[in-house]
């Protein structure tokens, strides 16, 4: 059991490094595509993309790590996270939680859910 958990942590550690590299790569690509934009805006945009879509998406898709390679989980996770964040935000708003808090609250919840499910899966 401990060995299995360690295996997951090792994978996550390795893949979070990839995500870190991809963050820098995307930042550079954004600087090329939006070369008239200042670095602060670019940095804020890219970090928002990673915080809202890439990281939650990665942790949700981690469940299927044996079936899908990193690249596939990475790309699908972005779109899936957007779908979940959009829907959750709508319903959270309706039940009274102001949308200004959603960017802070939703990604950690999704990350936590993804991580927990993944660890449970290993236990099973």
């Amino acid at each position: 059991m401990i060995a299995l958990k360690k295996e997951v942590f090792e994978l996550v550690k390795k893949e979070l490094k990839y995500i870190g590299i991809l963050f820098l790569l995307v930042l550079i690509i954004f600087k090329i595509a939006f070369f008239k934009e200042n670095l602060v805006v670019l940095f804020r945009s890219v970090i928002s993309l990673f915080w809202l879509f890439v990281l939650p998406g990665y942790f949700i898709m981690l469940y299927w790590k044996e079936k899908l390679k990193f690249l596939e989980r990475f790309i699908i996770g972005i779109a899936l996270s957007a779908a979940i964040i959009g829907m959750s935000s709508y319903y959270l708003g309706l039940i009274g939680l102001n949308i200004k808090y959603h960017a802070i609250i939703l990604p950690p919840i999704l990350i936590l859910i993804g991580a927990t499910i993944n660890l449970r899966n290993r236990k099973a």
């Binding site: 790569l25 690509i29 954004f30 090329i32 595509a33 939006f34 070369f35 008239k36 934009e37 805006v41 670019l42 804020r44 945009s45 970090i47 928002s48 993309l49 915080w51 809202l52 469940y63 299927w64 079936k67 899908l68 690249l71 596939e72 790309i75 699908i76 972005i78 779109a79 899936l80 957007a82 779908a83 979940i84 964040i85 959009g86 829907m87 935000s89 709508y90 319903y91 708003g93 309706l94 009274g96 102001n98 949308i99 200004k100 959603h102 960017a103 802070i104 939703l106």
Partner: protein, 557 residues
Amino acid sequence: MTKINLEKIILSIFFIVVLFLGPGVLFGHKIAHDFPFAYSASDAFQHQVRAEAIKDMGNFRYEASYISSGIEGTVGRYPPIMYHIAVVFSHFSGIEVYDAIYFIVVFFAIIAGFIMYLIIRDFNKTVALISLPLSMLIFSFPISIGFLWGHWPSILSQSFLVLFFWCIMKKDMKYSYILIALSLSATALTHTSETIFAFIFLALFFAIKLVVKKLNKNDIKNMVLSLIIFFIISIYYLLIFQNTWARGQPYSFAVQPIWEGNPGFYIAGFGLLLIPMIIGFIFSMSKLKSLHISIILGLAMLIGGFLNYIGFQLRSFQIRFFWPIYLSIFMGFGIYVLLKFVVKKWNFTYTSTIFIIVAVLLAGAVKLPILKQTDVQVIPSIPSINRVTSQGMMDLHHWQALKWLSENTGQESKIYFFYGDIYNQDAMLRNSKRSHHQVDPDDFVKAIQDRKIKRVYVSELPGDTGGGITIMNSLFDFELATESLPSEYFFGPQDICKFDYIVFDKVSQQQVLAQYNLLIAQELVNKDYINPVFDNEVVVILKNNQAGDDCIEERSF
């Protein structure tokens, strides 16, 4: 190992190219702008203002009254996801909502291109790489009007539709029904008509499965579970949809070969690319039995784009915004099949060379020769990406005026807009965030012809009536809020003296219109209780401190 790295390098280069030539060009190579940039029609402002309103209200329970023709308490009936993603992104990034919402739509359209790549890659990696550059054409004219004219919910919903296709492809994975349900719900809550196309695809997919006798119990169980979760997630909004949009715009049969009033995209627009596409289509039909999603979705969305012939009208034309993504399998497969006749031993060098050639051609990097003294191309047309940046309808001066109104006037203030060249795209006026009327251009011109300054002008109360301005009393009790209102409420004579603020444009392409504006403004400021409160090179705003009083002398000039 080398191949995998090369693939990733190619994908990275493609991301740079598509980002540079797509949103890069569209947004003038900036993300944050001083005003809504590259907004070219009223619908774009319509969505931007709704997202702004959600940001202000904190949720989308209600539609803002300044969007709903001044009516309070009407239900938020537009599919909500796009607005929510944009506002959440805006909050976290600090980017204005008008930039955030546009960026999100364009960004996820690019992501959809990559998801389609993954789908085709599951069929054949070489075909996937050759197909990928075609997705750039979502930024070519006239397809790009999807972005410029504000068909944003459809575009974002189609991005989720591509995600849905991927989920169906992976339906044999454990718990895939959750992914299927989430992606299907996302289409329904972003632009519900795309969900219909998802069901058309499913019908085709399972029909082929049935014919080739590959339909099994597990497939049915998976789909039933997916649909149950889908309904649980979406039911609240679907009830709103059913009582607004579905009631207001029911299906009716009509043959509509041309998208009236819009520069629609037609299949011939692919030009020379149709040759490999037709070849790819023919050869892929023989592979239908393999049930690969990439081929079935290509076929389904090709059919979906032609349903304008049986009443799907603009919804079918909107599907064509993503034809370069859906149909890319046919182009890639066509080129691959053709070259396989020549190249016996295929390797990655061939793949990358063809990828580069196709990408360069579609990027418009090569100017094809034309016959001297004519504009007839020696080589028939190959569509290419749009390389021209346009700032759109808005400008800094109008934006400053609208912002001023939203930030410096009382919530209950009433605004009157006299003639402005850009005000026919009236959703932009909602950026005043106040109840507003605008002068009817015909009555305005008639007043000039009659050489009269009047107190009462025929006016319009602009507002978004799409789907019907509706009040939701309970989950199953909806009523049309506009039913009891007379038609004059929306269009008819209005006394300009009853408005708190009156907005005049000082410049126009027909200067006589602006001169008449200024003549009225001059007449108004003769009253000591009417003063200019905002003034720039293009717009002047007057405040009437005694709204309802006799503010103007009617006379001839």
